[in-house]
Structure formats: C-alpha cells, structure tokens
Amino acid sequence: MPVLELRHVTKRFGGLTAVDDVTFGVEEGELLGIAGPNGSGKSTLFNVVTGIPFGASSGEILFDGKPITRMVSHRIARLGLARTFQKDAEYPDLTAKETIALAAIYGRGLNRRAAAEAAETQLEAAGIGCARAGMLTTALSVYERKQLMIASALVMQPKVLMLDEPASGLTRPEIAALNAHLVKINKGGVTILLIEHVLSLLLSLAERLIVLNQGAVLAEGDPQEVIRDERVIEAYLGGRSA
C-alpha cells in the first residue's frame, strides 16, 4: 500500500488550473523526484497535499490509507507528513535552536527538555554548531537556513518528507553535502518527495521521476528514461522559450 496517494487531485485558481487531475502513489522508503518547467504546478502540488495555505479543489489525498484532503495543516504535519518551502522560511525573532525545538514540541508532542535535546541532535546532524544554534535564524547563511528548514521537519520524525527545491541558491560543494545528507535521511527510513531544479541532484537521488507540465503529469518512470522522453524535452524547451 502506498504511504501517500493522490487521486485525481486538481487545484484551480479562477480560470487557471495549476494542478490538473494528478494521480500517483508514493511507496514507503521511496525517493521520488518531481520535475517540470517553472510554473508547472510543482509547489502548488505540495501546497495542496499539506493543506498550506490551501487544499485541493477536487480529488482525494490519502496518507497512510487515511484521507487528509480536508485536514488542517498542523494536523497533517503531526500525522507525519512534513514539508519544506521553496522560498526561505524562518522566524526572524527565534534562534535556530528555538525553531527546531518548537517543531519538536508542537509537531511531535515532546516536552520542553526532550525537545531541547532533540533539537541539539538535529542541529548536529545539520552541521549547525553550538555558537550558531543560539543565533537568530536571519543571521545564518543560506545553506544553514536550508538545513535548518530540513532539520525542523526531521525533528518531528516524519514518515514522509517533501522538499521544495532544497538546492536552490546553494554552491556546488553545498549541493554535494545536501546530496549526502538526503541519502542518509532516506536510508534512515524516511520517504522523500523531492522537487528540484538542479537536475544533477535529482538524477543522482531519485529512484523514480514524475514530470509535470501545466499542472498535469506529463511523464513518469525511471529518471534516465523520463528525461529522454521527447515530450519532456519539448516541455522544458518550450517552457524556456516562452
């Protein structure tokens, strides 16, 4: 049984259909890549699944076999479906450690002390040292902020982790480090959905690739085969020249 399942999911904004009748399942432990030109509906798909900030116009979403289509976002998160955001998300008045501890308390129900310990473990895994952990998140580097967003998701011990372009804005060595980090997370049993523009990262990590175009699934399957698909090439080139 898939851990996450989308059935005919559609999201409309007035006349625009940003997600168009999308159906697919994600198996437990899988690392699924999601690609598509700019504006093809990738982020909107994540938004609809996690209920942030809106749900689907129609269709059904099942997590662990249970419908979450109309569920509020914080409940979805507590069930074990965590996500990151494409644009940097942070709380300007909180430190890195507070940011993670808060997720441990509210997303996983830990008490204050256990949350502080869990936060330290995650900070270490994310490579954010003690001195930086006590700084306001706005003082951290781009890479640290990206890692922090992932760490605050992981501290909730999610079953499924949805990452929206985690490599954007990172340098090559940072992308390599991120690559290794994601492999480790996935090996640790966390199912991953990865939206990524950096194709090399996507191809090195994804076991299966879904390509969206204008909100609909254009191609799906083995990553190496999918990127050679003519329709996919055309969608990317067409998207770029438009």
Binding site: T50, G51, I52, P53, V72, S73, H74, A77, R78, A82, R83, F85, A89, E90, Y91, P92, D93, L94, E98, T99, A101, L102, A103, I105, Y106, G107, R108, R112, A115, S152, A153, M156
Partner: protein
C-alpha cells in the same frame, strides 16, 4: 530578572514611605492599572500579531463584573478581583471565536465592533448596569476592620502594585515559554508554523484569553477602588491612550509598554494640570506616537536595546 525591572520594582515597593500624599499615590495606582492594560495588550498585539481593538472590553468586563457582583449580589469586593479575571477570559473566548478565522483589518473591525456591542449592552441594560450614569457607591475593599483607603490609600497602592507585579511575571513567563515562541512563529510565518504542527486557531484563542485575565482583574480593582463603574471606560479615549503606550513602549517587549505607561500617564496628568494644556495633551501623545513609529518603529524598548548593544561592544 533584568536589573532595570528589579530596580523599578524596588523603587515602587518603598515609594509609599516617601510619597505620603494621597493624590500622588492615587496617580501611581492609576499608572499601575494602565501598565497592566498596555503590557497585556502587547501579548495579543505584539506577540500574537492580532490587531485586537477590543482589548478595553476585557477591562470593562472586569469593571462591571466587580460593580454588579459587589454591589448587586453582595460578593466580597476582594473576591470580585479574580472573578473579573474569569469573566474577562470568558469575554475573550467569545470574541476569539470569530477572530481566530480572520486576518488583519477584519480583526480590527470585529474586535472594535465587539467592544461597541458591549457598550450598547451596558447602556441598554440600565436596570443592571445603571446605563449611561453607571453605578456608584460600589462597596470598598476591606478586610476585617482594615479599610484599604486608610493611611492615604496605603493598602490600595500595594494591591495595585501587587497586580502589576503578578501580571508582569506572568507575561514574561508566558512570552518566554514555548507558547510565547509559537505566537512569534505564527505572527512571522503562519505557513511555516502550521507546517510544524502549530495550530493557528488554538494559538490565537489562547493568546486572546491569556491577554484578558489581568486586564479583567485590573478592571475589577479599578471599580472597587474608585467605587464607580462608568461606560466611559469603553470610550475611544482610553483605547487610544493605551494603544499609544504599547506602540511608544515598543511592541513584543512587555516591559516597553509598562515603562511607556508610566511615562505617558504622568506626562498627560502633568499636562492636564498645566493651564492651557488640558485639551492639548492628547494631541501631544498622538504626535509622540507618530514620531516614534516614524523614526523608531521598535519603540523605546528597542532604542534602549540598541544603546546597550553598542555599549557592550565598546567594552
């Protein structure tokens, strides 16, 4: 506790031994009440980011709770203080129901409308509330034979100061707790906070209720102390004065609005006693508010922080 708070508390604790005239003590008692109102408003406005313009309704709830309970129902005046906290919390729960789902300007409209509804209710139910005339000769505070008004309001001074101290510890504890941090998280990035398990509705309801308890108790104290309850407390004058204290003091700091409450209250009282300034004083407060918002949007508390930061760096 930081040294400025400790020093302030120390001074206020011994003050009645040096300031013995009952009028000055009276001014301090009112300043304590304003400080409670301003700092608790900071919880919903500054921390939760809720544009709650019904804050004074919590205070008014306390005022009328004490008036009706003590005068009409014969409840001991001392007991009406916690009672006012409870009814104000209940009032907050009622206003929170619609507010939890709204944003920005709609929160302003609903909360302000709510306080106007409360005002209309007080005016129309004159057999209970005394209507526009309000209620007078509310029983005063007394334990055994000791009347709190004795010795130039000695007792009242300490009850009011006690309420302010309790309220301040409560607010500092709350805003430094995970709940306080979750309010900041929601205020600054609602979507991120939601994705990390924080319930927006629950946090907003709790923030409103938590910000109503001490204003309610202060309202009850106010009625028992002045021995009157008047619908005037719900007027725009009180609201804008307390708002200026929060904004000039610096939102999301708790202590900023407390210091500003003292500064602004004593400034307006001094101006009120200065010939030709009686009508002018609110304009001065308004101008001060605009200047602070324009040149130091963090308020006085942030100015002090920046100053301290620089000082530390030099050393």
């Amino acid at each position: 506790m930081d040294w400025k708070l400790a020093a302030g508390l120390g001074v206020l604790l011994i003050l009645p031994f040096f300031v013995t005239d009952s009028y000055t003590r009276h001014l301090f008692i009112l300043a304590f009440v304003y400080a409670i109102l301003a700092s608790n408003w900071d919880l919903s406005l500054g921390y939760a980011g809720l544009f709650n313009f019904g804050h004074i309704a919590f205070f008014a709830t306390g005022v009328y709770t004490a008036a009706i309970a003590a005068k009409t129902l014969g409840v001991s005046p001392m007991l009406t203080i916690p009672l006012g906290g409870a009814t104000a919390a209940l009032t907050a729960l009622i206003v929170a129901a619609p507010v939890a789902r709204l944003k920005g300007i709609y929160v302003v409209l609903v909360t302000f409308a709510f306080s106007q509804v409360l005002l209309q209710l007080i005016l129309s139910q004159s057999h209970i509330t005394g209507g526009a005339e309000g209620m007078v000769r509310i029983p005063a505070l007394q334990i055994g034979d000791y009347k709190f008004i004795r010795d130039f309001k000695f007792g009242y001074y300490y009850v009011a100061l006690g309420l302010l101290v309790l309220s301040t510890f409560y607010l500092l504890w709350l805003t430094r707790s995970p709940f306080g941090k979750s309010l900041l998280a929601l205020r600054d990035n609602e979507e991120y906070a939601g994705a990390r398990g924080i319930s927006i509705m629950r946090a907003r309801v709790l923030a409103l209720v938590a910000s109503a308890i001490f204003p309610g108790m202060a309202g009850s104290f106010f009625a028992i102390y002045l021995r009157v309850a008047s619908p005037e407390v719900l007027g725009f004058g009180t609201l804008s004065l307390v708002l200026s204290m929060v904004l000039i003091g610096g939102i999301a700091t708790i202590t900023g609005p407390i210091f500003a409450a003292f500064a602004i209250f004593f400034a307006t009282e001094t101006l009120a006693g200065t010939r030709g300034m009686e009508e002018f004083r609110f304009i001065i407060v308004a101008v001060a508010m605009i200047l602070v918002l324009r040149f130091a949007p963090g308020g006085l508390a942030r100015i002090l922080q920046v100053f301290q930061f620089k000082k530390n760096r030099v050393l």
